[in-house]
Amino acid sequence: MAIPTLAEAAALIAAKKLSPVELTQACLDRMHRMDGTLHAFIHPTEARALADARLAEAAIMKHGPIGPLHGIPMGLKDIVDTAGIPTTCQSRLLEGNIPTADATCATKLAAAGTVLMGKLTTHEFADGGPSFDVLAPPARNPWNPDHFTAGSSSGTGAAVASGMILCGIGTDTGGSIRGPAALCGIAGIKPTYGLVSRAGVAPAAFSLDTIGPMAWTAEDCALMLQVLAGYDPKDPAGADRPVPDYSALLGRSLRGMRIGLIRHFHETDAPVSAPELAAIDNAVAVYRDMGATISEVTLAPMQDWHACGSLISMVERATAYEEWARTRLDGFGERVQRRLMLGALVSGVDYVQAVRRRRELRDQLRDAMRGLDAVLTAAAPGEAPTMDAIPRWDVFDRPSFTIPFNVAGYPAMSICAGFGPQGLPLSLQIVGKPFQEATVFQIADAFEKATAFRGQRPAMV
């Protein structure tokens, strides 16, 4: 069976032309064939998947689907609590941990009739991979398993790209959805801070953490976000706002749309590879051809955003895991140990200065986006590096293209923007105004449908 997008599968299921059981079995077959290499799943739930699929099929045959996610195989990052199913955050510290309740996002996806294929590999506690000294091996990139997936939603990126699932949950504190989406050649959106409940999901850095969809296309992400978005009193950062139709703008013309380009981020602050730059320039040309107006936007140097987000992250992470850091530091893998050690070197005053800088930077982005619908920049420096090329102290190696929008709390999406000379994906980041995810999807979807990049899957598939 060819791998359908979520939207294609939903249409076929609704027309009773595709059986959820057969779709699930095809995903399981891919899992059996490829996951020994890719390590995208840490806790596969094959029996649960088949049971979910049979239930979905019976219900759909009787009453029709309850929504587009009914009968769709999906996975959850292993920092998302799942009742009765191990949730280990890929850490030896949580080996054998079986929650008694689902996270809110897991509950919502189950209520939408999805098929749970399993828990997906993550960097330990959503931080610091790839690590070979934690509970399970790191995920590998389906486009070339010698290469990195990025993280921390590494398993979700690998599983979606290889068609083992049609969509999955990622989390994003500094780029953990958009990084793997970029390097694995899929779509992933970090929603506006507070839009999707974090209840029942292990924290990384409280004021930066977001939960969001990862799938093959922007359209698929819109369908998934429709289920995930919405106020949850269990999340103290939850935004109590009405949920719009995230697919409403898909297919509408971009004529007259005003898009900014933060060129200095990817050309001078942290220059991307030549193929990545060409991919961004191509995307700009595609949008111009569609009738959008492109203008340049200047913000503070990306290093300022990176410093602000990183200092906040170091302290909030060290706070969340302080007890274990004090008593069981060697239970963490080396990379997370190093991150937690950093918390000791950042003072309370340093933290509050970072939070003051955060307000200034947010204000700057808000002002820059007045009169614009969205802004563009890189999501990653280029094609995926090899697994052994990730620096020990990667946070000091180069600034992140993704963390600025965690600092601001704005919605930001990575989509596939082409392929480089090594045959690995290139990417584009699209950033919208708060709660304007529908516009981000519109812009992303227009590019995907105007180009041929969604027609290409990894060779191993």
Binding site: Q303, A318, L342, A344, Q353, A354, E360, W393, F396
Partner: protein, 64 residues
Amino acid sequence: MPEPLTDEALHFLLDNAGLTLTEAQKTDLKTIQDGLAAMKARVRQPRGRMAEPAHCFGFTAEDL
């Protein structure tokens, strides 16, 4: 460039944080001192004492 972190200063900070590190970890941690100092410098802008952090909040209807 900041003054190199002395063993005594590092010991104080780690003790304050309640962390027990190996000698190799302490040496490793010292290697990032310049990078961390550069980050700290970037969040310190010329700003008056009135500048508010991002997480200052207003009460909403739900609080009342």
